[in-house]
Protein backbone atom coordinates (compact mmCIF):
# COMPACT_ATOMS: atom_id res chain seq x y z
CA UNK A 1 0.00 0.00 0.00
CA UNK A 2 1.39 3.38 -1.02
CA UNK A 3 1.75 6.12 1.58
CA UNK A 4 0.95 9.77 0.92
CA UNK A 5 1.78 12.59 3.33
CA UNK A 6 -0.38 15.72 2.97
CA UNK A 7 0.17 18.97 4.88
CA UNK A 8 -2.70 21.33 5.59
CA UNK A 9 -4.97 18.30 5.28
CA UNK A 10 -7.81 19.28 7.59
CA UNK A 11 -9.76 21.57 5.28
CA UNK A 12 -10.02 22.91 1.75
CA UNK A 13 -7.83 21.40 -0.95
CA UNK A 14 -5.81 19.30 1.51
CA UNK A 15 -8.87 17.58 2.95
CA UNK A 16 -10.44 16.93 -0.47
CA UNK A 17 -7.14 15.53 -1.70
CA UNK A 18 -6.75 13.30 1.37
CA UNK A 19 -10.26 11.95 0.74
CA UNK A 20 -9.48 11.24 -2.94
CA UNK A 21 -6.30 9.36 -2.05
CA UNK A 22 -8.12 7.35 0.61
CA UNK A 23 -10.74 6.47 -2.02
CA UNK A 24 -7.98 5.21 -4.30
CA UNK A 25 -6.70 2.93 -1.55
CA UNK A 26 -3.67 4.91 -0.44
CA UNK A 27 -2.43 5.05 3.12
CA UNK A 28 -2.85 8.72 4.02
CA UNK A 29 -0.95 10.70 6.66
CA UNK A 30 -2.35 14.18 7.20
CA UNK A 31 -0.84 17.10 9.07
CA UNK A 32 -3.02 19.80 10.57
CA UNK A 33 -2.38 22.63 12.99
CA UNK A 34 -5.02 21.92 15.60
CA UNK A 35 -6.07 18.72 17.26
CA UNK A 36 -9.77 19.56 16.92
CA UNK A 37 -9.47 20.14 13.18
CA UNK A 38 -7.49 16.93 12.75
CA UNK A 39 -10.08 14.88 14.66
CA UNK A 40 -12.91 16.44 12.68
CA UNK A 41 -11.21 15.79 9.34
CA UNK A 42 -10.45 12.20 10.27
CA UNK A 43 -14.08 11.61 11.28
CA UNK A 44 -15.33 13.07 8.00
CA UNK A 45 -13.13 10.78 5.95
CA UNK A 46 -13.92 7.73 8.07
CA UNK A 47 -17.64 8.34 7.72
CA UNK A 48 -17.27 8.03 3.92
CA UNK A 49 -14.60 5.32 4.02
CA UNK A 50 -14.86 3.31 7.25
CA UNK A 51 -11.94 1.11 6.18
CA UNK A 52 -9.71 4.09 5.41
CA UNK A 53 -6.07 4.06 6.42
CA UNK A 54 -5.83 7.61 7.67
CA UNK A 55 -3.89 9.18 10.51
CA UNK A 56 -3.34 12.80 11.45
CA UNK A 57 -0.36 14.49 13.10
CA UNK A 58 -0.72 17.88 14.76
CA UNK A 59 1.85 20.59 14.01
CA UNK A 60 1.95 24.33 13.49
CA UNK A 61 4.22 24.12 10.45
CA UNK A 62 4.78 27.87 10.37
CA UNK A 63 7.35 27.35 13.15
CA UNK A 64 10.50 25.49 12.11
CA UNK A 65 10.72 23.89 15.55
CA UNK A 66 7.30 22.34 14.94
CA UNK A 67 8.33 21.01 11.52
CA UNK A 68 11.29 19.33 13.19
CA UNK A 69 9.15 17.86 15.96
CA UNK A 70 6.53 16.43 13.63
CA UNK A 71 9.24 15.13 11.28
CA UNK A 72 10.69 13.17 14.21
CA UNK A 73 7.26 11.66 14.86
CA UNK A 74 6.70 10.90 11.18
CA UNK A 75 10.08 9.19 10.86
CA UNK A 76 9.17 6.80 13.66
CA UNK A 77 5.70 6.15 12.31
CA UNK A 78 6.79 5.63 8.71
CA UNK A 79 9.61 3.30 9.71
CA UNK A 80 7.25 1.21 11.83
CA UNK A 81 4.15 1.25 9.67
CA UNK A 82 4.92 2.17 6.07
CA UNK A 83 8.05 0.10 5.25
CA UNK A 84 10.02 3.31 5.54
CA UNK A 85 8.54 4.54 2.26
CA UNK A 86 6.66 7.66 1.23
CA UNK A 87 5.26 7.50 -2.26
CA UNK A 88 4.15 11.11 -2.34
CA UNK A 89 4.63 14.20 -0.20
CA UNK A 90 2.03 16.85 -0.89
CA UNK A 91 3.22 20.21 0.41
CA UNK A 92 -0.16 21.82 0.45
CA UNK A 93 -0.13 23.91 3.63
CA UNK A 94 -0.50 27.61 3.02
CA UNK A 95 -2.01 30.73 4.38
CA UNK A 96 -2.50 34.45 3.96
CA UNK A 97 -1.61 37.17 6.43
CA UNK A 98 -3.10 40.64 6.22
CA UNK A 99 -0.16 42.16 8.05
CA UNK A 100 3.56 41.68 8.37
CA UNK A 101 3.89 39.10 11.13
CA UNK A 102 6.88 36.97 11.98
CA UNK A 103 7.67 33.50 13.29
CA UNK A 104 9.86 32.79 16.32
CA UNK A 105 12.90 33.12 14.04
CA UNK A 106 11.73 36.55 12.89
CA UNK A 107 10.78 35.20 9.44
CA UNK A 108 7.73 36.64 7.66
CA UNK A 109 4.85 34.23 8.24
CA UNK A 110 3.61 33.67 4.68
CA UNK A 111 7.14 32.95 3.49
CA UNK A 112 7.70 30.65 6.46
CA UNK A 113 4.44 28.75 6.20
CA UNK A 114 3.95 28.64 2.42
CA UNK A 115 7.57 27.90 1.52
CA UNK A 116 10.06 27.22 4.32
CA UNK A 117 7.79 24.67 6.04
CA UNK A 118 7.66 22.63 2.82
CA UNK A 119 11.37 23.06 2.24
CA UNK A 120 12.20 21.79 5.72
CA UNK A 121 9.69 18.92 5.73
CA UNK A 122 10.80 17.69 2.29
CA UNK A 123 14.40 17.72 3.53
CA UNK A 124 13.49 15.57 6.51
CA UNK A 125 11.32 13.13 4.56
CA UNK A 126 13.57 12.85 1.49
CA UNK A 127 15.16 9.51 2.52
CA UNK A 128 11.69 7.91 2.68
CA UNK A 129 10.62 9.46 -0.62
CA UNK A 130 13.84 8.15 -2.14
CA UNK A 131 12.99 4.63 -0.93
CA UNK A 132 9.73 4.73 -2.92
CA UNK A 133 11.17 6.70 -5.87
CA UNK A 134 8.36 9.03 -4.99
CA UNK A 135 6.94 12.38 -5.95
CA UNK A 136 6.77 15.76 -4.24
CA UNK A 137 3.87 18.04 -5.11
CA UNK A 138 3.45 21.68 -4.09
CA UNK A 139 0.17 23.54 -4.01
CA UNK A 140 1.14 26.50 -6.13
CA UNK A 141 -1.07 29.08 -7.82
CA UNK A 142 -1.25 30.87 -11.11
CA UNK A 143 -0.73 34.06 -9.12
CA UNK A 144 2.99 33.15 -9.08
CA UNK A 145 3.04 34.83 -12.49
CA UNK A 146 3.62 38.55 -12.75
CA UNK A 147 5.98 38.78 -9.81
CA UNK A 148 9.72 38.59 -9.32
CA UNK A 149 11.54 37.37 -6.25
CA UNK A 150 12.37 40.25 -3.90
CA UNK A 151 15.89 38.97 -3.30
CA UNK A 152 17.02 42.05 -1.41
CA UNK A 153 14.10 41.89 1.01
CA UNK A 154 12.68 38.40 0.87
CA UNK A 155 10.60 38.87 4.04
CA UNK A 156 9.12 42.12 2.61
CA UNK A 157 10.12 43.99 5.75
CA UNK A 158 10.65 47.18 3.76
CA UNK A 159 7.19 47.20 2.22
CA UNK A 160 4.72 44.49 3.08
CA UNK A 161 1.64 43.78 1.02
CA UNK A 162 -0.42 40.62 1.63
CA UNK A 163 -0.85 39.83 -2.06
CA UNK A 164 2.82 40.42 -2.89
CA UNK A 165 3.83 38.12 -0.04
CA UNK A 166 1.37 35.49 -1.23
CA UNK A 167 2.41 35.64 -4.88
CA UNK A 168 6.09 35.51 -4.01
CA UNK A 169 5.54 32.50 -1.75
CA UNK A 170 3.76 30.72 -4.62
CA UNK A 171 6.65 31.55 -6.95
CA UNK A 172 8.87 29.98 -4.26
CA UNK A 173 6.78 26.78 -4.46
CA UNK A 174 7.37 26.29 -8.16
CA UNK A 175 11.03 27.33 -7.90
CA UNK A 176 11.46 24.74 -5.16
CA UNK A 177 9.86 22.05 -7.35
CA UNK A 178 12.18 23.05 -10.20
CA UNK A 179 15.23 22.87 -7.92
CA UNK A 180 14.23 19.43 -6.64
CA UNK A 181 13.93 18.15 -10.20
CA UNK A 182 17.35 19.52 -11.08
CA UNK A 183 18.87 17.78 -8.10
CA UNK A 184 16.97 14.55 -7.86
CA UNK A 185 15.16 13.66 -11.09
CA UNK A 186 18.18 11.48 -11.98
CA UNK A 187 17.56 9.63 -8.73
CA UNK A 188 13.99 8.84 -9.70
CA UNK A 189 12.31 11.55 -7.61
CA UNK A 190 10.03 14.05 -9.39
CA UNK A 191 8.56 17.28 -8.11
CA UNK A 192 5.54 19.19 -9.38
CA UNK A 193 3.65 22.40 -8.74
CA UNK A 194 -0.11 22.30 -9.01
CA UNK A 195 -2.28 25.28 -9.80
CA UNK A 196 -5.59 24.54 -8.08
CA UNK A 197 -7.32 27.48 -9.78
CA UNK A 198 -9.75 29.62 -7.82
CA UNK A 199 -11.14 27.32 -5.14
CA UNK A 200 -13.85 27.91 -2.58
CA UNK A 201 -11.81 27.44 0.62
CA UNK A 202 -11.31 29.56 3.74
CA UNK A 203 -7.65 30.37 3.09
CA UNK A 204 -8.24 34.14 3.02
CA UNK A 205 -10.46 34.10 6.11
CA UNK A 206 -8.05 32.44 8.55
CA UNK A 207 -6.02 34.77 10.73
CA UNK A 208 -6.60 37.67 8.40
CA UNK A 209 -8.63 40.77 8.95
CA UNK A 210 -10.38 43.71 7.36
CA UNK A 211 -9.87 44.05 3.65
CA UNK A 212 -8.29 40.66 2.93
CA UNK A 213 -11.08 38.87 4.76
CA UNK A 214 -13.78 40.83 2.95
CA UNK A 215 -12.29 40.50 -0.52
CA UNK A 216 -11.73 36.78 -0.10
CA UNK A 217 -15.28 36.23 1.20
CA UNK A 218 -16.58 37.74 -2.03
CA UNK A 219 -14.04 36.12 -4.29
CA UNK A 220 -14.23 32.57 -3.02
CA UNK A 221 -17.89 32.32 -4.01
CA UNK A 222 -16.72 32.14 -7.63
CA UNK A 223 -14.32 29.32 -6.78
CA UNK A 224 -14.76 25.67 -7.65
CA UNK A 225 -15.12 22.91 -5.07
CA UNK A 226 -11.79 21.64 -3.70
CA UNK A 227 -12.56 18.21 -5.17
CA UNK A 228 -11.72 19.60 -8.63
CA UNK A 229 -8.04 20.46 -7.97
CA UNK A 230 -7.74 17.31 -5.80
CA UNK A 231 -8.02 15.28 -9.04
CA UNK A 232 -4.76 16.75 -10.32
CA UNK A 233 -2.75 15.51 -7.34
CA UNK A 234 -4.18 12.00 -7.71
CA UNK A 235 -3.57 12.12 -11.46
CA UNK A 236 0.11 12.99 -10.95
CA UNK A 237 0.55 10.11 -8.52
CA UNK A 238 -1.42 7.52 -10.47
CA UNK A 239 0.77 7.73 -13.60
CA UNK A 240 3.13 4.74 -13.62
CA UNK A 241 5.98 6.65 -15.21
CA UNK A 242 6.40 10.01 -13.58
CA UNK A 243 5.09 12.80 -15.84
CA UNK A 244 7.86 15.06 -17.13
CA UNK A 245 6.17 18.41 -16.67
CA UNK A 246 6.59 20.86 -13.81
CA UNK A 247 3.36 22.84 -13.53
CA UNK A 248 -0.13 21.30 -13.77
CA UNK A 249 -3.69 22.60 -13.84
CA UNK A 250 -6.73 20.32 -14.18
CA UNK A 251 -4.47 17.31 -14.82
CA UNK A 252 -2.76 19.05 -17.71
CA UNK A 253 0.53 20.87 -18.07
CA UNK A 254 0.33 24.60 -17.92
CA UNK A 255 2.71 27.40 -18.84
CA UNK A 256 4.57 28.89 -15.92
CA UNK A 257 6.28 32.17 -15.23
CA UNK A 258 9.47 33.16 -17.00
CA UNK A 259 10.91 33.80 -13.56
CA UNK A 260 11.13 30.03 -13.10
CA UNK A 261 14.77 29.64 -14.11
CA UNK A 262 17.55 27.39 -12.96
CA UNK A 263 19.36 30.41 -11.56
CA UNK A 264 16.40 31.58 -9.47
CA UNK A 265 15.64 28.04 -8.34
CA UNK A 266 19.20 27.52 -7.13
CA UNK A 267 19.35 30.91 -5.48
CA UNK A 268 16.16 30.21 -3.52
CA UNK A 269 17.38 26.73 -2.67
CA UNK A 270 20.64 28.03 -1.23
CA UNK A 271 18.89 30.80 0.69
CA UNK A 272 16.31 28.39 2.09
CA UNK A 273 19.03 25.99 3.22
CA UNK A 274 20.68 28.86 5.04
CA UNK A 275 17.44 30.04 6.66
CA UNK A 276 16.58 26.50 7.78
CA UNK A 277 20.13 25.67 8.83
CA UNK A 278 20.22 22.52 6.71
CA UNK A 279 22.07 21.09 3.73
CA UNK A 280 20.28 18.77 1.29
CA UNK A 281 22.51 15.83 0.56
CA UNK A 282 23.32 14.30 -2.80
CA UNK A 283 21.58 11.01 -3.30
CA UNK A 284 23.89 8.15 -4.10
CA UNK A 285 21.79 5.83 -6.24
CA UNK A 286 21.43 7.03 -9.79
CA UNK A 287 18.95 5.36 -12.06
Amino acid sequence: MKTVVITGATSGIGLATARKFVGKGYNVIGIGHSETNCDRAKEKILSDYPEAKIIYFVANLMQLSEVKRVADELEKYITANCNGEIYALINNVGGVRSWYQTTAEGYEQQFALNHLASFMLTYRLLPYIEMALGRVIMTCSNSHKGIKMHWEDIMLKDGYNPLTAYKQSKLCNILFAEALNERYSNNGIRAYAVDPGLVNTDIGNKQTGGVVNLIWSLRKKHGVLPEIPAETYVHLCEQKTAPKGLYYYLCRERKFSREVTEENANRLFDLSEKLCGIKYRDLVVEL
Binding site: Q63, L64, S65, S98, W99, Y100, Q101, T102, T103, A104, E105, G106, Y107, M155, L156, K157, D158, G159, Y160, Q207, T208, G209, G210, V211, N213, K274, L275, G277
Partner: protein
Protein backbone atom coordinates in the same frame (compact mmCIF):
# COMPACT_ATOMS: atom_id res chain seq x y z
CA UNK B 1 26.25 50.26 17.43
CA UNK B 2 25.42 48.11 20.47
CA UNK B 3 21.71 47.72 21.08
CA UNK B 4 19.90 46.38 24.13
CA UNK B 5 16.32 45.14 23.67
CA UNK B 6 13.87 43.91 26.31
CA UNK B 7 10.84 41.81 25.38
CA UNK B 8 12.82 40.83 22.30
CA UNK B 9 11.03 37.60 21.47
CA UNK B 10 7.55 39.15 21.25
CA UNK B 11 6.05 40.45 18.00
CA UNK B 12 7.31 44.05 18.24
CA UNK B 13 10.60 42.91 19.76
CA UNK B 14 11.30 40.60 16.83
CA UNK B 15 10.45 43.32 14.32
CA UNK B 16 12.73 45.88 16.01
CA UNK B 17 15.50 43.32 16.38
CA UNK B 18 15.22 42.44 12.67
CA UNK B 19 15.29 46.14 11.74
CA UNK B 20 18.45 46.68 13.82
CA UNK B 21 20.08 43.49 12.54
CA UNK B 22 19.44 44.50 8.93
CA UNK B 23 21.38 47.72 9.67
CA UNK B 24 24.31 45.75 10.99
CA UNK B 25 23.87 46.75 14.66
CA UNK B 26 25.09 44.38 17.34
CA UNK B 27 22.31 43.06 19.53
CA UNK B 28 21.92 42.10 23.15
CA UNK B 29 18.47 40.56 23.46
CA UNK B 30 16.59 39.68 26.57
CA UNK B 31 13.16 38.20 27.28
CA UNK B 32 11.64 35.86 29.83
CA UNK B 33 11.09 33.32 27.04
CA UNK B 34 14.44 31.57 26.61
CA UNK B 35 13.34 29.31 23.74
CA UNK B 36 11.96 32.29 21.84
CA UNK B 37 15.24 34.18 22.30
CA UNK B 38 17.20 31.24 20.99
CA UNK B 39 14.99 30.91 17.89
CA UNK B 40 15.23 34.62 17.18
CA UNK B 41 19.00 34.61 17.58
CA UNK B 42 19.25 31.72 15.11
CA UNK B 43 16.93 33.48 12.66
CA UNK B 44 18.81 36.81 12.81
CA UNK B 45 22.16 35.12 12.39
CA UNK B 46 20.93 33.15 9.38
CA UNK B 47 19.07 36.01 7.74
CA UNK B 48 21.42 38.91 8.35
CA UNK B 49 24.62 37.32 9.63
CA UNK B 50 23.95 39.46 12.69
CA UNK B 51 26.06 39.54 15.84
CA UNK B 52 23.59 38.57 18.57
CA UNK B 53 23.93 37.84 22.28
CA UNK B 54 20.92 36.62 24.23
CA UNK B 55 20.19 36.20 27.88
CA UNK B 56 16.86 35.05 29.33
CA UNK B 57 15.92 37.26 32.26
CA UNK B 58 12.92 38.04 34.40
CA UNK B 59 13.36 41.80 34.49
CA UNK B 60 10.77 42.13 37.27
CA UNK B 61 13.28 40.44 39.59
CA UNK B 62 16.34 42.25 40.93
CA UNK B 63 18.35 39.03 41.28
CA UNK B 64 17.66 37.97 37.71
CA UNK B 65 18.67 41.40 36.38
CA UNK B 66 21.78 41.46 38.59
CA UNK B 67 22.92 38.14 37.15
CA UNK B 68 22.48 39.48 33.63
CA UNK B 69 24.36 42.68 34.49
CA UNK B 70 27.21 40.65 35.97
CA UNK B 71 27.48 38.87 32.64
CA UNK B 72 27.51 42.19 30.79
CA UNK B 73 30.12 43.65 33.13
CA UNK B 74 32.32 40.58 32.85
CA UNK B 75 32.51 41.02 29.09
CA UNK B 76 32.68 44.81 29.32
CA UNK B 77 29.92 45.50 26.77
CA UNK B 78 28.81 49.13 26.54
CA UNK B 79 25.61 50.24 24.82
CA UNK B 80 24.49 52.95 22.40
CA UNK B 81 20.81 52.18 22.27
CA UNK B 82 18.06 50.77 24.48
CA UNK B 83 14.60 49.61 23.47
CA UNK B 84 12.25 49.10 26.42
CA UNK B 85 9.73 46.83 24.75
CA UNK B 86 8.78 44.31 27.45
CA UNK B 87 5.25 44.95 28.61
CA UNK B 88 2.04 43.18 29.42
CA UNK B 89 -1.72 43.60 29.51
CA UNK B 90 -4.58 41.36 30.56
CA UNK B 91 -8.09 41.76 29.15
CA UNK B 92 -11.04 42.41 31.42
CA UNK B 93 -12.23 44.96 33.95
CA UNK B 94 -10.27 45.69 37.13
CA UNK B 95 -12.34 43.51 39.44
CA UNK B 96 -12.56 40.65 36.94
CA UNK B 97 -8.81 40.36 36.89
CA UNK B 98 -6.75 38.52 39.44
CA UNK B 99 -5.15 41.02 41.80
CA UNK B 100 -1.77 39.48 41.05
CA UNK B 101 -2.12 40.07 37.29
CA UNK B 102 -3.06 43.70 37.85
CA UNK B 103 -0.01 44.27 40.02
CA UNK B 104 2.14 42.39 37.49
CA UNK B 105 1.20 44.99 34.86
CA UNK B 106 2.77 47.70 36.98
CA UNK B 107 5.78 45.67 38.04
CA UNK B 108 6.68 44.82 34.44
CA UNK B 109 5.56 47.89 32.50
CA UNK B 110 6.81 50.40 35.09
CA UNK B 111 9.20 48.99 37.69
CA UNK B 112 11.12 46.66 35.40
CA UNK B 113 11.42 49.37 32.74
CA UNK B 114 12.95 51.73 35.32
CA UNK B 115 15.30 48.99 36.52
CA UNK B 116 16.58 48.27 33.01
CA UNK B 117 16.75 51.90 31.93
CA UNK B 118 18.87 52.76 34.96
CA UNK B 119 21.14 49.76 34.44
CA UNK B 120 21.73 50.27 30.72
CA UNK B 121 22.11 54.06 30.90
CA UNK B 122 24.80 53.42 33.53
CA UNK B 123 26.47 51.15 30.99
CA UNK B 124 26.35 53.44 27.99
CA UNK B 125 29.35 53.89 25.77
CA UNK B 126 31.24 56.96 26.86
CA UNK B 127 31.51 60.00 24.62
CA UNK B 128 28.95 58.67 22.18
CA UNK B 129 25.32 59.56 21.55
CA UNK B 130 22.74 57.36 23.24
CA UNK B 131 19.25 56.51 21.95
CA UNK B 132 16.57 55.51 24.40
CA UNK B 133 13.16 54.20 23.36
CA UNK B 134 10.16 53.62 25.59
CA UNK B 135 7.34 51.62 24.08
CA UNK B 136 4.30 53.27 25.52
CA UNK B 137 0.89 53.15 23.86
CA UNK B 138 -1.85 55.26 22.38
CA UNK B 139 -3.66 54.12 25.53
CA UNK B 140 -1.29 56.27 27.57
CA UNK B 141 -2.90 59.43 26.25
CA UNK B 142 -6.25 58.84 27.93
CA UNK B 143 -7.70 57.28 31.04
CA UNK B 144 -9.00 53.99 29.67
CA UNK B 145 -11.76 52.11 31.47
CA UNK B 146 -11.41 48.32 31.08
CA UNK B 147 -7.71 48.84 30.42
CA UNK B 148 -7.30 51.11 33.45
CA UNK B 149 -4.09 49.67 34.90
CA UNK B 150 -2.46 49.16 31.53
CA UNK B 151 -3.25 52.68 30.32
CA UNK B 152 -2.06 54.19 33.60
CA UNK B 153 1.16 52.18 33.48
CA UNK B 154 1.82 53.44 29.97
CA UNK B 155 0.90 56.96 31.08
CA UNK B 156 3.69 56.66 33.61
CA UNK B 157 6.12 55.80 30.83
CA UNK B 158 5.01 58.62 28.55
CA UNK B 159 5.34 61.24 31.30
CA UNK B 160 8.52 59.77 32.72
CA UNK B 161 10.14 59.69 29.27
CA UNK B 162 9.20 63.31 28.60
CA UNK B 163 10.75 64.43 31.88
CA UNK B 164 13.81 62.24 31.51
CA UNK B 165 14.37 63.67 28.04
CA UNK B 166 15.01 67.09 29.61
CA UNK B 167 17.32 65.66 32.26
CA UNK B 168 19.42 63.88 29.67
CA UNK B 169 19.39 66.47 26.89
CA UNK B 170 22.77 67.85 27.81
CA UNK B 171 24.20 64.33 28.12
CA UNK B 172 23.71 63.56 24.42
CA UNK B 173 20.80 61.18 25.01
CA UNK B 174 17.79 61.16 22.69
CA UNK B 175 14.58 59.85 24.25
CA UNK B 176 11.73 58.65 22.05
CA UNK B 177 8.33 57.54 23.30
CA UNK B 178 6.51 55.25 20.89
CA UNK B 179 2.73 55.36 21.23
CA UNK B 180 1.30 52.86 18.76
CA UNK B 181 -2.34 51.92 18.34
CA UNK B 182 -3.11 48.25 17.78
CA UNK B 183 -0.22 46.15 16.52
CA UNK B 184 -1.11 42.93 14.70
CA UNK B 185 1.47 40.79 16.46
CA UNK B 186 -0.48 37.73 17.59
CA UNK B 187 -3.59 35.83 16.58
CA UNK B 188 -5.21 37.19 19.73
CA UNK B 189 -4.27 40.77 18.91
CA UNK B 190 -5.69 40.37 15.41
CA UNK B 191 -9.00 38.99 16.64
CA UNK B 192 -9.13 41.92 19.09
CA UNK B 193 -8.59 44.39 16.25
CA UNK B 194 -11.29 42.66 14.19
CA UNK B 195 -13.76 42.89 17.09
CA UNK B 196 -13.34 46.67 17.17
CA UNK B 197 -14.50 46.84 13.58
CA UNK B 198 -13.85 50.04 11.68
CA UNK B 199 -12.02 51.83 14.51
CA UNK B 200 -9.92 48.77 15.10
CA UNK B 201 -8.57 48.70 11.58
CA UNK B 202 -8.15 52.48 11.40
CA UNK B 203 -6.02 52.65 14.55
CA UNK B 204 -3.97 49.55 13.70
CA UNK B 205 -0.37 50.23 12.78
CA UNK B 206 1.84 48.30 10.42
CA UNK B 207 4.44 46.49 12.47
CA UNK B 208 7.29 46.65 9.96
CA UNK B 209 6.71 50.36 9.43
CA UNK B 210 6.60 51.14 13.16
CA UNK B 211 9.86 49.21 13.62
CA UNK B 212 11.58 51.05 10.78
CA UNK B 213 10.37 54.52 11.82
CA UNK B 214 11.22 53.98 15.48
CA UNK B 215 14.81 52.98 14.78
CA UNK B 216 15.10 55.83 12.29
CA UNK B 217 13.50 58.54 14.46
CA UNK B 218 15.25 57.87 17.75
CA UNK B 219 18.58 58.64 16.13
CA UNK B 220 17.35 61.85 14.55
CA UNK B 221 15.04 63.46 17.04
CA UNK B 222 13.52 62.78 20.42
CA UNK B 223 9.95 63.19 21.63
CA UNK B 224 6.64 61.52 21.08
CA UNK B 225 6.08 59.24 18.09
CA UNK B 226 2.47 58.36 17.35
CA UNK B 227 2.40 56.22 14.21
CA UNK B 228 -0.52 56.58 11.81
CA UNK B 229 -2.41 59.68 10.68
CA UNK B 230 -5.67 58.48 12.24
CA UNK B 231 -3.99 57.96 15.61
CA UNK B 232 -2.35 61.37 15.46
CA UNK B 233 -5.68 62.98 14.66
CA UNK B 234 -7.44 61.14 17.46
CA UNK B 235 -4.79 62.11 19.97
CA UNK B 236 -4.93 65.74 18.79
CA UNK B 237 -8.73 65.93 19.03
CA UNK B 238 -8.54 64.25 22.43
CA UNK B 239 -6.74 67.29 23.79
CA UNK B 240 -9.89 69.40 23.49
CA UNK B 241 -12.14 67.15 25.52
CA UNK B 242 -12.15 66.87 29.32
CA UNK B 243 -10.54 63.60 30.43
CA UNK B 244 -13.74 62.51 32.19
CA UNK B 245 -15.67 62.77 28.92
CA UNK B 246 -13.02 60.80 27.04
CA UNK B 247 -13.12 58.09 29.69
CA UNK B 248 -16.90 57.85 29.34
CA UNK B 249 -16.73 57.59 25.54
CA UNK B 250 -14.01 54.95 25.68
CA UNK B 251 -15.93 52.94 28.23
CA UNK B 252 -19.00 52.89 26.03
CA UNK B 253 -17.07 51.83 22.97
CA UNK B 254 -14.83 49.28 24.67
CA UNK B 255 -17.52 47.51 26.64
CA UNK B 256 -19.33 46.75 23.38
CA UNK B 257 -16.21 45.68 21.55
CA UNK B 258 -15.02 43.51 24.42
CA UNK B 259 -18.33 41.73 24.67
CA UNK B 260 -18.14 40.97 20.96
CA UNK B 261 -14.54 39.95 21.26
CA UNK B 262 -15.09 37.63 24.21
CA UNK B 263 -18.03 36.13 22.29
CA UNK B 264 -15.94 35.31 19.22
CA UNK B 265 -13.16 34.00 21.45
CA UNK B 266 -15.40 31.47 23.15
CA UNK B 267 -16.88 30.28 19.90
Amino acid sequence: MNVFITGASGGLGRAIAAECASRGYKLFLTDINEEGLHSLQTGLERQYGACVTTRACDITKDESVDEMLALIDASGIRFDMLFNIAGIDYEGSFLERECRSVVKIVSLNVEATLRITHAILSRRRENGAFSLVFVSSLASLYPMPLKATYAASKRFLTDFAEALRQELKSKNVKVLTLCPGGLPTTEEAISGIAAQGFWGSVTTNRLEQVAFETVEKVQKRAGLYIPGAANRTLSFLGKFLPRSVIAAIIYKRWSGAQEKWLCTESK
